[in-house]
Symmetry: C2
Subunit: 463 residues, 2 copies
């Protein structure tokens, strides 16, 4: 020790600055590294220590993570929600995020509910739709309880066409509604006549063309397509232009060999062509399929759902059954479209955080430097986001590689323990809806899954 | 000075290591920076000094570079070479690179000539085609002399369909043949029956579908499409998957509204769908159009052509008229397909270096980290390549931005003086053809434009 102090010292101080101050005061150079404990309670620190050293938890996590890794979701077709969604009722509307009542819904989700009532013919105008919903005449249930996911409000009604996926490894199915494009759309709470007209056209024309095209094509393997899109600058949450193009090429080939009229085919293809988010819902359903495969492993601390209903943020964990761990959903800071600002923003909403849960979206931002023009930040920060998320995941998914990080797999398998232990909240790239019904998207940005969901889950898992 | 030497010194030694050795020998720390002069002659150093300090040269370069920047190439249609290519003769074959005789051609180009003679019906079998070529019965002329470009052998015969582009700013037209796909193809010297069959189908079916589709669409602006592809991981020389997808989406929309039979449309779209290099020739013609706009400015030292015929590498310079400056084409090191190695490789070939000349391809590698799996190197080196090329260019093209370099424009406008002054040869991402006729592509890699072309050009420019 005396020999050590006889030499010039290179001092790095981690955490509390008072130690560094003392060294600096004595005239020596000191590098200051910002660090603080996670802010968990003594109980949570104990729970983390207990779970992370338990071989049974480790084995359970490996089992859950391997199930996620080995899942092989394929696109099988397009069906009608009432006919194909497990447990879908006649007067039922599925919504994004954890369970919620009509009264607790924010503007965007209430607006979408109104639109769905009009679309289904349950009501003739918005006011009677509101009255129906308030009177309890509609059953609301999370998409996630029906093997489904939906972006933003996620409202899925019985007559809507839905993507049908099957995980060829574990056999589970998954579903998502079809993406309507940007601007005034149901998922952002708009329900004006042109929104309903588009939804009707999606049922009468787009759905049948996709169904017929997919019948010609057989199964479409989704993981290779998604892996390719990551190499083409998509992160597949807020940037889906490459994945949409890759899916489009397949659909064209099938549609032209189908029995659908050429004008219908042309209209359907034009619609896909004009909507660079068209793949989002397919990718979300693929993520849902991979994560459902990992769900239900006793003792596993792996997160299998992150979802928001515009009021609450909720997570579910493989080893904690169907229980949701919820807290208030954050208001997202980001880049707002001209004329809008943070005061106009609704709370974080949508099942689309299933992408981050599966290791893409914000976790794969290193693949998508150009997205910073849409969600904010710099390309360097985008790389850093993917690197930082590796601290809270069980491993990497080598089926999805990130070229700029020397083709490392995307970090995947969020671990409740690691989130609480490091204090690092999972990053989410997201769209921002207006707080009031009927307006639509007003921006996009980067947000985080709130720590409170993870500390709650940890407490239950530790019991 | 004495005050300076009284303080601890931070010494960086650039170049000759003997200076650093002396400092290190005296016990002081020294950072060594590897550097050597460009290896030019005293004459070339003088010529560089003379030209780079001449205000008239500077003005000429600004004029040429601005013409390149302001060029606005649009895709107008598809025509037949004999009908639309300026100066195209009936028994003429266009080829890549600088002028060359039959005897001097390498295997790939001779093979492609044989294939073109068979396609045109000038000969019934390979041997009589060879005899015709050797007897001088065919006129060989560079694509570049006809406002055209062609990848690899670049052989363009009178009956072939060609892309037709117009630069809306300066009015010049440019052309390229259509991409045949990978594997056994004419441009790599293959001329077997399936190669000729495909070329005939391209004339009878693909060309007419593209012509009809483009008639429905009107002009397609190419710079925005190319800019978008750069944000999707293409560098548009050896990676064209995104640009092909973006063009494909446009063609689909036009084709479905055209009068062509649906089976022809489906076959044409399938062909595009199966060929991720389909955009390459369009992009090359766009680059040709931008660079021809910059050509012919007296005193300008800006390079407007880099091209190889499989035997010689040649460049042309804006201020040096139509003169080619040539030297022996290098053999490319790279990643070889299974079963092949460097001994099988022909010399560097093709007009496709027009992409690097226009600031994309190797110059835009920072946009395409995934390409290192095809041409070699690491993602970090890919970034470095784009950064290094900025040392030899007149500026940056802000129409083409590189996300990973904080959206800097791609370096463009290669300057003969800067190349000789720095000793940095322009980088080229390229495919590798087999040295013998009829085999095809055997790999891909990164090569450089030989310095000898630039020192020759410099000597002429300085006169």
């Amino acid at each position: 020790m005396s020999a050590l102090f006889g030499k010039p010292l290179s001092v790095a101080n981690v955490g509390l600055s008072s130690f560094a101050d003392a060294i600096a005061g004595a005239g020596a150079p000191v590098a200051r590294i910002d660090w603080a404990p996670s802010g968990g309670t003594p109980q949570s620190a104990l729970a983390v220590a207990q779970l992370m050293t338990d071989p049974a938890v480790d084995a359970a996590n490996r089992k859950a993570f391997d199930a996620y890794l080995s899942a092989d979701p394929v696109l099988e077709g397009v069906g009608i929600a009432r006919e194909v969604l497990p447990g879908m009722g006649e007067r039922m509307l599925l919504h994004s995020g954890p369970p919620i009542t009509w009264e607790a819904m924010g503007g965007a989700m209430q607006g979408a509910v109104i639109g769905a009532c009009l679309l289904e013919g349950w009501a003739r105008e918005a006011e009677s739709a509101r009255a129906m919903a308030a009177a309890g005449e509609i059953v609301f249930d999370p998409c996630h309880h029906h093997a489904a996911v939906g972006p933003m409000a996620g409202i899925t009604s019985p007559s809507m066409p839905v993507w049908m996926l099957r995980n060829r490894t574990q056999g589970n199915v998954s579903f998502s509604n079809l993406n309507e494009g940007m601007g005034k759309v149901l998922r952002y709470g708009a329900h004006s006549p042109e929104v309903l007209e588009r939804l009707r056209w999606m049922g009468t024309t787009l759905g049948p063309v996709l169904t017929a095209a997919l019948r010609q094509l057989g199964l479409i393997e989704l993981k290779p397509l998604m892996a390719r899109a990551l190499h083409m600058g998509d992160e597949m949450h807020n940037r889906n232009v490459a994945a949409t193009g890759l899916l489009y090429k397949r659909i064209v080939a099938g549609a032209l060999r189908s029995d659908r009229p050429v004008p219908d085919i042309a209209a359907a293809l034009d619609f896909m062509n004009g909507n660079d988010f068209f793949f989002l819902n397919v990718g979300m359903a693929a993520c849902k399929g991979m994560l459902d495969a990992a769900h239900g492993v006793p003792r596993s601390t792996m997160v299998t759902t992150m979802a928001r209903n515009g009021t609450e943020f909720g997570i579910r964990v493989s080893g904690a059954g169907d229980r949701w761990f919820t807290t208030s959903a954050p208001v997202v800071s980001g880049l707002f479209f001209a004329g809008y600002g943070r005061g106009d923003a609704g709370r974080d909403i949508g099942d689309s955080a299933i992408t981050e849960t599966a290791g893409i979206g914000g976790f794969a931002m290193a693949a998508a430097p150009a997205i910073v023009q849409f969600v904010g930040g710099t390309p360097r920060e985008a790389l850093g986001n993917s690197q930082r998320m590796a601290h809270i995941t069980l491993g990497r998914n080598n089926a999805f590689t990130l070229p700029m990080l020397d083709f490392a797999g995307t970090p995947a398998g969020i671990d409740v323990c690691r989130v609480v232990d490091t204090g690092i909240e999972p990053i989410i790239n997201t769209g921002i809806a207006h707080r009031e019904a009927g307006v639509g998207q007003i921006g996009a940005g980067i947000t985080h899954a709130p720590m409170a969901c993870f500390t709650q889950a940890l407490a239950v898992l530790a019991q």
